[in-house]
Symmetry: D2
Subunit: 337 residues, 4 copies
Amino acid sequence: MIIVLKPDATEAEVAQIIRKIESFGLTAHVSKGTERTIIGAIGDERVLQERPLEAFPFVEKVLPVLKPYKLASREFKPEGSVVKVNGVLVGGRRVVVMAGPCAVEGREVLLETARSVRAAGGHILRGGAYKPRTSPYTFQGLGEEGLKFLAEARRETGLPIVTELMDTREASVVYEYADLIQIGARNMQNFKLLKEVGACRKPILLKRGMSSTVKELLLAAEYIMSEGNYDVILCERGIRTFEDATRNTLDLSVVPLIKRLSHLPVIVDPSHGTGKWDLVPPMALAAVAAGADGLMVEVHPRPEEALSDGPQALLPMTFAKLMGDLGKVAAAVGRTL
Amino acid sequence: MIIVLKPDATEAEVAQIIRKIESFGLTAHVSKGTERTIIGAIGDERVLQERPLEAFPFVEKVLPVLKPYKLASREFKPEGSVVKVNGVLVGGRRVVVMAGPCAVEGREVLLETARSVRAAGGHILRGGAYKPRTSPYTFQGLGEEGLKFLAEARRETGLPIVTELMDTREASVVYEYADLIQIGARNMQNFKLLKEVGACRKPILLKRGMSSTVKELLLAAEYIMSEGNYDVILCERGIRTFEDATRNTLDLSVVPLIKRLSHLPVIVDPSHGTGKWDLVPPMALAAVAAGADGLMVEVHPRPEEALSDGPQALLPMTFAKLMGDLGKVAAAVGRTL
Amino acid sequence: MIIVLKPDATEAEVAQIIRKIESFGLTAHVSKGTERTIIGAIGDERVLQERPLEAFPFVEKVLPVLKPYKLASREFKPEGSVVKVNGVLVGGRRVVVMAGPCAVEGREVLLETARSVRAAGGHILRGGAYKPRTSPYTFQGLGEEGLKFLAEARRETGLPIVTELMDTREASVVYEYADLIQIGARNMQNFKLLKEVGACRKPILLKRGMSSTVKELLLAAEYIMSEGNYDVILCERGIRTFEDATRNTLDLSVVPLIKRLSHLPVIVDPSHGTGKWDLVPPMALAAVAAGADGLMVEVHPRPEEALSDGPQALLPMTFAKLMGDLGKVAAAVGRTL
Amino acid sequence: MIIVLKPDATEAEVAQIIRKIESFGLTAHVSKGTERTIIGAIGDERVLQERPLEAFPFVEKVLPVLKPYKLASREFKPEGSVVKVNGVLVGGRRVVVMAGPCAVEGREVLLETARSVRAAGGHILRGGAYKPRTSPYTFQGLGEEGLKFLAEARRETGLPIVTELMDTREASVVYEYADLIQIGARNMQNFKLLKEVGACRKPILLKRGMSSTVKELLLAAEYIMSEGNYDVILCERGIRTFEDATRNTLDLSVVPLIKRLSHLPVIVDPSHGTGKWDLVPPMALAAVAAGADGLMVEVHPRPEEALSDGPQALLPMTFAKLMGDLGKVAAAVGRTL
């Protein structure tokens, strides 16, 4: 950690900051420049992470040197992690496609969708039983009944299921049914929920918050991992920007960036990322070309009747066409589908 | 709701969309323009809020006309709401100042801070017992012990207390101690938590999410109100933008905007809004000039030792000076302190 | 255009707005809803584009229906445009790669770079002679001398050249040398410059401003086209967001979006888009997978000595490797390189 | 400047970076930490501003210590600057109000507006003769004729005039009429234009670009000052964010922030900042409470007929009311109007 002092900092103030650094068990390294004195804190700066040093009026700024996350970092595990979801490997050579409706709306429509996902070659079935909705007046999900429909679809198709957990009180019921527990974008910094799933023995799909930096995403993963659960898959799903022609701005550059910073697998959700079904196929191809380990795509047999996010759902036939195209791009970048 | 069709939409497609609108109990109003046909859906468009209409391939866009929130809207209650917090009125002529440490760190330091808040004329004591922290390796709050210290500070100073609730499982313990329940920015769209506090009989302080629009903030308030709890105070605390010279970008224009859109009281947190203690006083004055009903300000007797957010905490003497200045600006805009 | 009136608008006010609409030669279409009256303005709403209607105190909001650009729209020219740059076609089946140094720094280093671009199969040579730099104390470009070096490199390698024009006063000298005139991101809304290049007979490369919406980008293209120059190529180069781990956020979803909205070719600049050389290859592949008509990539033989943007420049050998990979992805999406 | 090396950097690489630093005339200061080696470059780091050091593959990141601007910095001139605009002082105790129409639309309407600005106590008349407009099909300003009308209004009312310069080719004609030359937000990084006005002898009003950081704003001021013109007034006018309920997000916290970083006066434009006339008065009051040296406010006698930005213009009587309220807030913060 580097502490930059203001130009008029006195000797006594320099001494004060040195004592402070040493009180945390670190070594202070003073460097007097032509305009300012800067002090390096040598050692594990994570003990200084609270950074109250900036509260000293004679400190101009504090520059961290080390990354604040450890278990999630590439340095902790130089080879990439592979997470197993009920037999499906995420993070290996195969690009994994998770597809299905935004919300589980009923038994028949879910089974119909699951069959089409299966037929097209999808690997994991997605579907929300508990739905975070912006308005209290819209469909909030079927709850446990939805989980049961998902389990039935799994029995019939053999596809593992991924579904969202929104509330610590519902953790045990979701654990009972899901193969992969999704933490949604709005809950990426719901730290109690992160700790809760950190203590379970199921793999976690952690979606990036809509205004979260990559550093914060990795710290959220660190919350889960620090409780003992290392099976975390990250998911880019678009961030909030000024551009309103798309629902979010899909930030694909985080795919190679996360690969550099972390060993965790990373997938992309182009459905929420764009909010428009006709932008989903090209962005799905782009995600794979950028190095994503998988995709999460919304599919619905009748999008205009969907109770949630219809405008971004693919028809089964569009999804099937996409799967074909994905195979070609995956092969072009040395992967399989 | 206005549905704009693509230029090449056919008569059959127009008929299809009309049937759809009528199936929701609304009336369709067709208007053929020179380039496009547009269709108005007359009636309570909230039933169409899911907007699956955009999923029709011949629909170009859907424009909502009505606001999606109702109970939180100014139209629902043209006069402003006043929320009572253990005897302190928020939303009236008096500007209410909530102050105290970011986190409750210990009994002595809390009491010391509470006394200085009281002495300077603050109205409500703030302090976090459960702390949402970006990193799992930093101080996470004292939990119920912190709540007990807050209750003791209330007994001694007579100041009501506001503190954050992070997890539905901790609701009952927080209800037991707090006078005003804070929902933090990261939980503004934790819908299960919103419903939980909507069912309690305590006033709620709802902070704007760091990437939430005003519409989403009012919909979050609507979640609480739709469960029966109308005592909601809104709080602007800065949004995420590209500017990195401040911790967040304090969006004061939402103060008069919310006053126009909603009847709920609105306060401002310039401590999180700026992240720098020396920007807090001018922004606190600006908030009152813009029409805020109150402020939430962090105060700490030794910011450089704070376990959380020290760089943005005011010293008690700076806070006391600010209170004097606030009184003058409040008077200039026809209010009291 | 749809005009939504406030709930308490009077009959006289409705009549006033109708007269206003008719005064512009449009037809007013009144629709009384259950809560609000809305009025449609039928005809070419572009005459109402200034939207002073929102200034009426009884108007709640104004919703445009038509796109504000015409010449740049896909409807104006349903088949895609192909722009010819001194023999190289942009917008056809072939993906066009523009590569070279950020700035022309000297004769030798430019020729060396141009040869490596040529050898790797690049199609157009890029290089800035006039450089927009954030600080006045950094290298500002070689000016006309730089243009002469570019011309020499063109003679030797046969590659057409693209270079930036920053000032209307320098238009004639840049026209003399360049094959493709670049308007940089910071000048996307330098309207005088847009009109100037709209009047020239050279193709234009228009980069998206760092906080410009797609609509504004297309309106900037419209400025150029409305002066008679239809040879416009659009370029996504990253937008400004809160994420600071990359220089900008490369918004690849605008590639398929622009393809839907406009007939103009669109290319992607992953060098400025990410600011980090190791993110450039994956994002270049992603851009092609998303449907980009070309790329603009920075190449420098010794990035650590570059006078501008070294951290985002590829070494010639990395660029050559990328060209090979691009060929595979281009083929996977039905294109050539 | 601090250079953080990657964990696996070799001794030879450390030596290479030291040689590089010394080749710029700086001293290298090596500090081996427990995980990484960091190197400080002691001396005027501005010579390293191009930062090609990040292009070395063994460098993890480069952290600048000093501010990149000098003439604009508070350290360069600890007391605040006062800029004289044809007799009106900006930056002193008096809060200066610049008001008038967005665009000069005609002689009569301008004179009418100027008289009302004068009568209400405004200090400087604003009005655009050259207008940057998003669409080429909207009113582009009256050009020199508009400047003549402004000069006539100045003769009649005695108010100095501020107007925008958009193109280096029009500099001499604008210099002939204007008392204060405005550089608009879209041209904040039109560096040729900045250099042009840096060479003139008139004061400059520099508006913050809509996605510019404060650092970039101060560097744009530095461009002007480095050419010899020190009479620069900065203006906050709102930035681009995800919030679409206001035209821009007015970032008032930059007012006290700029006061800390720079000696230049800073004013606020709440008209463009909010885009809605009813939000202008509260935000104007807030700006003065935050410490702004002045305001720029749009006034139009008939906003619904304005050719540009009518929805954000105040009626003369609303403006007059605002001036009264501003006087009270100014007094409350120790200033006059």
